[in-house]
Subunit: 410 residues, 2 copies
């Protein structure tokens, strides 16, 4: 928490509207931090539907195991998130801690344990003492309010330097439908920390299967397009809750045109949250968009874009304000995807620096250098092979990243 706020942070925090069926409380349970909130409790109205996307790690945390299993029920009444301890790699004790947490929350919310969703973020490998939630969650349930979105976003922060919130409103069947989202994450997060968590809430009435389908698709085009350091957390969790309180007929089919409208708004919201994560990347000084076009297909474009976005040499060059297209070529080449050196073109912003496999004779070093001094950098690689496209977001790699993740013992 002692790190200065990222220079890429938004200048103001958005104000999120009430979502009927959602109430919020935060608390200090003393899990690790002193003098700050570390527990988020969200109460959800009866009938709330839920969908989720989780880390692909083969070593997921105990809460991820719990949520995967709870999702099968399709309905949710409470969400409990703690910061300070990830409850990951904690063996049988970890599973016990998460079920104890769910029991305490179920009592507080008056629901079944299978309707409680749990996420934890913080140190890996430390047992989580779930007895700390005793009393705390019941108290939270008693005083939860509809207007505490900023408090919610703050309670789940670890080494984030700013809270991350976004909201969207759309009209369906003449009703105003609201979507609110919060997220945390700043790389894989120091010291010892890990995880990107995001929670989205809407008053739209959506069947769980439809919500899952649009959430998975929106996630693929938002959070799965962000990389800070290429390190995948054991605990990544994205959950969407639909309270159904908007007073329109249920969206029960993915082919319903209203599902499409909702999907567009959801993706747009998740993209904003995902970009906020990259903007809070550990040590970040530049926000970077990598676009790949002309690949053989979209999946291939995505793999090339990720290869560029994760390359330490590309990221350090950006930190040094150097339009080092040779390193972009290197990263295209190492991706293992179809690429033809002699058709490759590379641009920084609107400036094409290389075309057809060699330096563009028309490019101005001076204009490029001026562009690289900006805060938002767009790199585009045109492979010249087909119609495949992708774009991913990342940040530069600075000495501050190494400091945050390596120097804290000195």
């Amino acid at each position: 928490m002692s790190h200065p706020v990222s220079p890429l942070a938004p200048k103001t925090l958005p104000s999120l509207p009430v979502i009927e069926g959602v109430v919020i409380a935060t608390a200090e349970a003393g899990i690790r931090y002193k003098g700050r909130t570390d527990v988020l409790y969200v109460g959800l109205a009866e009938g709330t539907r839920v969908a989720g996307v989780f880390t692909r790690s083969k070593c997921p945390s105990a809460p991820v195991d719990w949520c995967r299993s709870a999702l099968e029920g399709g309905s949710a009444r409470a969400l409990v998130v703690n910061s300070g301890n990830a409850n990951a790699f904690t063996g049988a004790k970890g599973a016990q801690a998460v079920s104890r947490t769910a029991e305490i929350a179920a009592r507080a919310a008056g629901c079944a344990t299978g309707e409680v969703f749990v996420a934890s973020t913080g140190v890996i490998g430390e047992p989580l003492d779930a007895s700390k939630f005793e009393g705390v969650l019941e108290d939270c349930a008693g005083r939860a309010r509809a207007d505490l979105w900023q408090e919610a976003a703050r309670a789940i922060m670890t080494t984030d330097t700013f809270p991350k919130l976004a909201t969207r409103t759309i009209e369906l069947d003449g009703a105003e439908i609201r979507l609110n989202g919060i997220a945390k994450g700043a790389g894989m997060i120091a010291p010892d920390m890990a995880t990107m968590l995001a929670f989205v809430f809407t008053d739209a009435p959506v069947a769980a299967a439809v919500l899952q389908e649009i959430l998975s698709e929106a996630n693929a085009r938002s959070f799965n397009c962000v990389t800070v350091d290429g390190d995948t957390s054991t605990s990544d969790t994205l959950l969407a809750f639909a309270t159904g309180k908007a007073g329109i007929a249920e969206i029960a089919d993915a082919q319903d045109p209203r599902a499409k409208s909702l999907a567009i708004a959801l993706e747009d919201l998740l993209v904003e949250l995902a970009q906020l994560v990259a903007r809070d990347g550990e040590g970040a000084r530049k926000f970077v968009t990598v676009r790949v076009v002309g690949a053989v297909d979209d999946a291939s474009a995505k793999r090339v874009a990720i290869s560029i976005a994760n390359s330490p040499l590309v990221k350090t060059a950006i930190a040094g304000e150097d339009a080092n297209w040779g390193r972009v070529v290197m990263a295209v080449g190492k991706a293992g995807e179809p690429a033809d050196r002699d058709r490759l073109s590379i641009s920084f912003g609107d400036i094409r620096v290389a075309k057809n496999g060699a330096r563009d004779p028309d490019y101005s070093e001076e204009a490029t250098s001026a562009y690289m001094e900006g805060e938002d950098i767009v790199i585009c690689a045109d492979l010249g092979l087909g119609d495949g496209e992708a774009r991913v977001w990342t940040c530069d790699l600075t000495k501050a990243y190494v400091e945050i993740n390596g120097d804290y013992r000195s």
Copy 2:
């Protein structure tokens, strides 16, 4: 060149013996650097056989294209290496430059252009002016000597902080067989630089096909087990030359027991060179060996080991002298290979810090911290699933890496 010598550099340079059939000269061609050699010329006796392994980049340099094609002939009379310019991503001009270089060298050596091997290392995307070799290579051929191995290793350096040489001697059929090797590489190398190059020479008489087979296998277990930053060069080149001057019968078959002896010596030599590359990793302060055991098979173990060795969070933790096994778990989990969280054990040196998916209750934080202060760190992850094993070498990720690769404009 202005960077201080790596603290992990060997205290003394080995003295390499003469290899009959190999003569060496170096020169200052003024390709990019001032006041240092930047050209290596190696003359090879008639009958020299050659084998090679190259970058898997889809955007290889022009010299890589040339060598791949020249290898089909199987015989070599000259090797020309320049530093300062990689002749990579230079379009049609790049191919012209390398064939011009081969013509000049062929005239100097009195051989066919197809018997000339060329490697270049340095800036990407700058046209290489091959006319600078005119006169220089002829002069080199005239004054080449058998005892200039250190000079050879120095001429091919870019941002390397020390020259890399190794030698082995074995006995075959009562004759002393010598193997000498030189290498360069220090990550993907700043500023603008790229490439790992290595050249091995032996007086053993070996058929080109046999040499290729043992070289490919030895490479898989040496250079392909090193990573500094996970960034693959456009120009990686490993060539082996066998002059056949040792005066024993030709090794014409890979089943010949002498081929096995030679393969063992070659692998041992390449492992030494490969480790020297990791020891000269940009900004490196720790030499790291990652061992993975208990994987479902060796290939799976290798992918998990590479995932650990390339993880920025693992590497910065090592720089911070922190036995952060949670990050090792994370890197195992993200590799996408079969892994069971609850069977996983992790050790630093001889200290087991985690077993069966949770912190080892017996481990001493103090002893581990003392171990992490050392210069050579061994991380072992036991997946507990099968017999698959692998080990890779890397270095830590320090602020100096970012400085070398990003800050040079400031």
